[in-house]
Amino acid sequence: MITATVETRENYLTHEYGVKSWLLTQDHKRIALLYLGAISFFFFLGGIFATVIRLELLTPPGDLVSAQTYNKLFTLHGVIMVFLFLIPAIPATLGNFLVPMMIGCKDLAFPKLNLLSWYIFMVGGICVLYAMLQGGVDTGWTFYVPFSTSYANTYVILTAVGIFIAGFASILTGLNFIVTIHQMRAPGLTWYRLPLFIWSMYATSLIMVLGTPVVAVTILLVALERGFHFGIFDPALGGDPVLFQHLFWFYSHPAVYIMVLPAMGVVSELVSVYSRKKVFGYKFVAFSSVAIAVLGFLVWGHHMFVSSQSVYASMVFSFLSFLVAVPSAIKVFNWTATLYKGSISYDTPMLYAFGFIGLFTIGGLTGTFLATLGFDVHVTDTYFVVAHFHYIMVGGTMMAYLGGLHYWWPKMTGRMYAEGWAKLSALVIFLGFNLTFFPQFIMGYLGMPRRYHAYPEEFQVYHVLSTAGASVLAVGYLIPAVYFIWSLRYGKLAPDNPWNATGLEWQTTSPPLPENFEITPVVNHEAYDYSILEEMKVG
């Protein structure tokens, strides 16, 4: 019965056809799909670089690629994964698709800016790709001066300009979300009735709007210094390279929260729907997002404990970093408590949510290790740090992103994916991920520095484990790529609310109408109130 309505109803995918209808669309749902296509491309590109890096590290001497090539590989891997995949991943795809639907409005406040942000993102991405095709860049994604300004012989300016431009896409997305969430909520949808995903997107947007301009101007100064010898960070003139690091990490640490806060929002949704319970401690989870966003701006100096910043500054930054860990811990405990006396199903998105909680817990705990001053001195710039941030960014963000993509796939495309394959891939990704990155913790504590093209023999056993894990992980990521595409044509038609969820996005058709809702919904219950489903059935 439901499927019949889907076939007859005009939806956002069918009401217009043709390339032009996509490239000039102002519909947030279509723009979300444009972003999905773009970031998927960048993800697989970054993944190819990662694969070559892991293959190179299989043996101690640098025998597969040259040192210069290796440096370009890890730089491009970092630049593409951070700026062109992880930062836009959840906000620009899931966020773009869901923010208006979850708050019951027809579109984001500024649809033209939203489309513009996609074009800006693409121009930035193309700059980076062009730099890559010209010969790449080898400064590391951190662009530390004076190496990037005076010593590197690669396409630094082009890449920097690409990142600068892509930054504006992120600013526009954040601005759009903030205004939309403030001004356009459906009648009755008060702040405390918002789904937790919206809270996390709001916190993320704050960081995008406040942090991105700082890194943009910093990268611009690097380009100026390189292009026109404007030596603002040049030690020969008395400029301070450490000042660059302060400005860079002022954004780039909060950027980690741009990646992981949306992931936390997704997981809050998943944990609730697959245990059919309200999220335990709703307000604590909501405000912990805001607390992370605010405190996240005060901890950047923990990247610089050995950079020659003052010992006392390091102490303050260490202390504040521990404070950030508290709201993160609150979230983990509340998710766990939500499971208590729930009705837990093992659908694929929930498997990803379990994976997220586990990997994020390890990533978060090792994060407190790194905030510990003395410990950080030993392991900073080693594989310990590499393992830690991959646990957060890949283990955390990527798991949640995939979980969210599976969860909302029926809504976005109107088709169900292949459940058996999906479960298998979730398991493969989880195992492959741990095999890849867990050995790197041990390797890092043993002293293996990061960004090494060749390394002493005693580390080989860990590198071999890691490379083996990476190949498992690669297979794990390829499986969803196949069955998602397959499902577009052959997947079962999706009902409007396949998971019996309560969010407003599930109260419209799958896929949604061009204007989301037939009539603007009125909200008179809290988020995750599963009793309304029965009322609706009765009604």
Binding site: V179, V209, P213
Partner: protein, 216 residues
């Protein structure tokens, strides 16, 4: 009717919501802009506190008269912009168009004065990267001062240029009669932007031109 469809986009409930969303959006954008300049003001603060005397020497190479003139011109432009917003609110179409053009004129005058300052510095050999031949006291730190000066005034000038473009579009649309007392949000938010650009200069002027007057 035509005006009405132009004014209210389909996804808003009413004109009121659209107006508050646009204005709020501009404020959020200005917060972004503050952080954008903030990074550079932060560099300035650090370097000036490290090298106060070099910054003092260097500052006295700037022409305070030109600086003062450009400040005055910019303040006048902010005044005419405020008048333009007021005219839009009262529906005085011709006054609106006229005030917008006067604002653009002042903005252009500001750019001319600033470019002449840059040209003077270039001729004096105080433009890092292009012509820097200063050999007197503490040349390294003086060069740092001028790097900061050109980076910050350059960024500001690019904002003025964008502002001119924006106001040009607004003037064109105003002359077509797009704005009414019920719908003039674009004028209002362009005004917000313009006052912000003006305000940034109000900080730049003393920080670069006036810090070491007493040493002359």
């Amino acid at each position: 009717m035509a005006n009405h469809t132009l004014a209210l986009r389909h996804h808003f409930d009413d004109v009121e919501q659209q107006k508050s969303a646009s204005t709020f959006g501009m404020w959020v954008f200005l917060v972004t802009e503050i952080l954008f300049f903030g990074g550079m003001f932060c560099c300035y603060t650090v370097y000036r506190s490290l090298y106060p005397s070099a910054f003092g020497h260097a500052s006295n190479h700037l022409d305070v008269i030109l600086g003062a003139v450009s400040t005055a011109v910019l303040i006048c432009s902010s005044f005419t912009m405020a008048c333009a917003v007021n005219s839009a609110a009262t529906g005085a179409k011709h006054a609106l168009v006229a005030f917008l053009w006067v604002t653009i004129l002042f903005a252009a005058a500001f750019l001319v004065v600033e470019m002449s300052e840059w040209h003077l510095l270039y001729k004096e050999g105080l433009m890092p990267g292009f012509n820097f031949t200063y050999h007197d006291v503490d040349p390294g730190h003086v060069q740092l001062f001028f790097c900061m000066y050109f980076a910050m005034t350059g960024l500001h000038a690019s904002h003025v240029t964008i502002g001119i473009g924006l106001l040009g579009v607004m003037a064109f649309r105003a002359s077509r009669g797009v704005f009414t007392p019920q719908y003039y949000t674009p004028i209002e938010i362009s005004g917000l932007y313009w006052h912000f650009v003006d305000l940034v200069w109000i900080f730049l002027f003393p920080l670069y031109y006036l810090i070491a007057r007493h040493l002359q």
